[in-house]
């Protein structure tokens, strides 16, 4: 019988049926970080249990690390306490830790792929909702809570129910100045922020075939913003090329067997999907959010929706959103004044994002009224960017160049909005208060759109600013 990748990976990792009807699923790779793991290690100790597969557990520190302070102890004692807790836990249990001193630290969803830990046909869990990022490689990857982190530490398994699979096909060629970020914002806008509940999203079609692994990661990353716990792209030659030679990739002697195995996990031709949606790439334009959920999005040249055009439930959220955002229905979003520009995060903090922006940024200057920061998602990305001279292009333009971490994506470190500042952000969430100020405002967009906002001081169309 023809099967989807999701079904094949699920079957290969099924341990047994649990009494409540759920599946005990083996988790091949467990990624942990400082925010959601300390309580889990605490529970483990309370129960007198050990880490079952320390060699399949990998740790990094990302959320709380300051990006402008390299020496420890950090001026924030809580950040210091959290990093030290992770050091102790990984040492006590023999877990590999990509610490700040290794040159390999970074946002957990960047470290996995960079190290070759993220592989097709595997299961990956992490106490972080953006774990679906790893699905770009054809892995079944999802976020879990802290009690589940404990479950994986103790047993390397989880109690789960299978998901339905929705194939989301995007075909054709994106117009210049339109990016993977616009594709996923568009999909969420179309299907809604809870449209994916109960589903795994399989992203496919010629647009995805042509996407680099980094572009695929940007899309998979935001599956959860559409309500889907997990999203993936079937593995292909690009996937294998990306993994080859990475530290944790299969060795030369095992390589061919690994590739054959990975290929076998791809969804079969003629397999059944629970739902299929099809979009045309040419119809997608640069997309920005105007509200407080990622689904409240429009094309840059559209007007924000009139309340009368929304159904009753959406209208309430929209009213709340307009109030918080200090924006008005039926007016253009273009021209909205921007105070901060944030380029980074596990959605768009990769080397290809920095390269794309740097290409257009040369010779341009950040508006005097804007504070602009660029935060590479990982130390390896930062090192590569410096090697290519990208940091110089950013700083010459007036961006602050920072150290690796989550930074202003969720502001658990000192990078925060102040008061009702409005931030043009390449991150993934525009929730109220997300960027560290209760009244702060976030507009999600692609990295190049962030750069355009930084330069002009307002939400604008990057295609016009940069003559793309």
């Amino acid at each position: 019988m023809a099967k989807t990748l999701f079904q094949k990976v699920w079957e290969a990792h099924t341990v047994r049926q649990l009494p409540n009807g759920q599946t005990q699923l083996f988790i091949g790779t467990h990624l942990i970080h400082e925010v959601t793991s300390p309580q889990a290690f605490g529970m483990l100790r309370d129960l007198g249990l050990k880490v079952k597969f320390p060699q399949r557990t990998f740790a990094t520190v990302d959320h709380i690390v300051p990006t402008n302070e390299l020496k420890e102890p950090y001026s924030d004692p809580i950040a210091q306490e959290m990093i030290e807790a992770l050091r102790k836990n990984t040492k006590d249990y023999g877990i590999k830790f990509f610490d700040t001193t290794t040159g390999q630290q970074g946002i957990v969803h960047m470290v996995g792929p960079e190290q070759g830990i993220t592989q097709p046909g595997t299961t990956i869990a992490c106490g972080d909702s953006h774990t679906a990022t790893h699905g770009a490689f054809g892995a079944i990857a999802f976020g879990i809570g802290t009690t589940q982190v404990r479950d994986v530490l103790a047993t390397q398994t989880l109690a789960l129910s299978p998901l339905k699979v929705r194939r989301i096909e995007v075909n054709g060629k994106l117009k210049p100045g339109v990016y993977a970020k616009d594709v996923i914002l568009h999909i969420i806008r179309e299907l809604g922020v809870n449209g994916g509940i109960g589903f795994a999203y399989e992203y496919a079609g010629t647009t995805f075939d042509n996407f680099s692994l980094e572009e695929r990661m940007t899309v998979c990353n935001m599956s959860i913003e559409g309500g889907a716990r997990c999203g993936y792209v079937n593995p292909d030659q690009k996937t294998f090329d990306y993994i080859k030679g990475k530290p944790f990739a299969p060795k030369a002697a095992d390589w061919d067997a690994a590739v054959a195995r990975w290929k076998s996990f791809a969804s079969d031709a003629g397999c059944k999907y629970d739902d299929v949606k099809v979009y045309q790439a040419e119809n997608i334009r640069p997309t920005v959010t105007w509200g407080i959920t990622p689904g409240q999005a429009i094309f840059i040249d559209e007007k924000m929706p009139a309340l009368e055009t929304l159904n009753a439930a959406d209208r309430q959220t929209a009213e709340d959103a307009y109030k918080h955002m200090k924006l008005s229905p039926s007016t253009p979003i273009k021209g909205t004044k921007v105070d901060v520009a944030f380029l980074g995060s596990c959605t768009n903090g990769r080397i290809s994002d920095l390269r794309e922006v740097a290409k257009y940024l040369k010779g341009r200057k950040v508006s005097a009224s804007v504070k602009a920061i660029v935060v590479p998602g990982s130390q390896l990305t930062a090192i590569q960017a410096v090697h290519e001279g990208l940091d110089k292009i950013f700083t010459d333009a007036g961006f602050e160049w920072r150290g690796a971490g989550c930074s202003m994506c969720l502001a658990m470190n000192p990078d925060k909005l102040v008061g009702d500042q409005l931030c043009a952000s390449s991150s993934n969430r525009n929730f109220k208060g997300r960027q560290g100020s209760q009244t702060g405002r976030t507009i999600l967009m692609s990295p190049l759109m962030v750069a355009a906002a930084a330069i002009t001081g307002e939400v604008t169309d990057a295609r016009e600013v940069f003559k793309v």
Partner: protein, 206 residues
Amino acid sequence: MSLAKITQVKALALAVPGDDIDTDRIIPARFLRCVTFDGLGEHAFRDERTGPDGKERAHPMNSAQAARIAAAKQGVMVVGFNFGCGSSREHAPQSIWRFGFTALVGGSFAEIFFGNSTALGVPCLTLSKDDLAELSDFVQKNPDVEVTVDVENLKVSAGAKTWKADIAASARNSLINGKWDPIADLLEGASDVAKTAGGLAYVAGK
């Protein structure tokens, strides 16, 4: 490990209306800067409850009803659709539970939030849109009437009214059989785990 069998929760209720209430609103990220869950209860919905000027805002969680629930350490929160969307932080259901809520009723719940709550022994039941509106209205008008969240028989009742409710079958099973923390079951499968692991080349480092 023996856990309580959660067949029903009967307690005072508080309506916290609104759809797409995300985990950043339930517990702002600054309260994630911790290595234990202790003390999270008092910060549930912190930025909704307290304005930037430090003054209390009009919010259900600031009401006398909320205070009664906090004191009783028992209560039903009546919410909207897509409640708990956003991050996987267990801090969100932990803060609600530690505040005093022992069951939630809503239109729909984000999946990770739902799983995290179940693992704490906090049932999250869903009602149809119209029924939910009716319940929410009832609760706001009758703060002294206890609401019964019947996990076993899939219904919610208050006063003379009863509404048909739903919850994933596996969660219902776990809750009513006192198996909502899956760790015991998962540990029991150890020999099968070894078998599955043995069949996976990448786990062996290949």
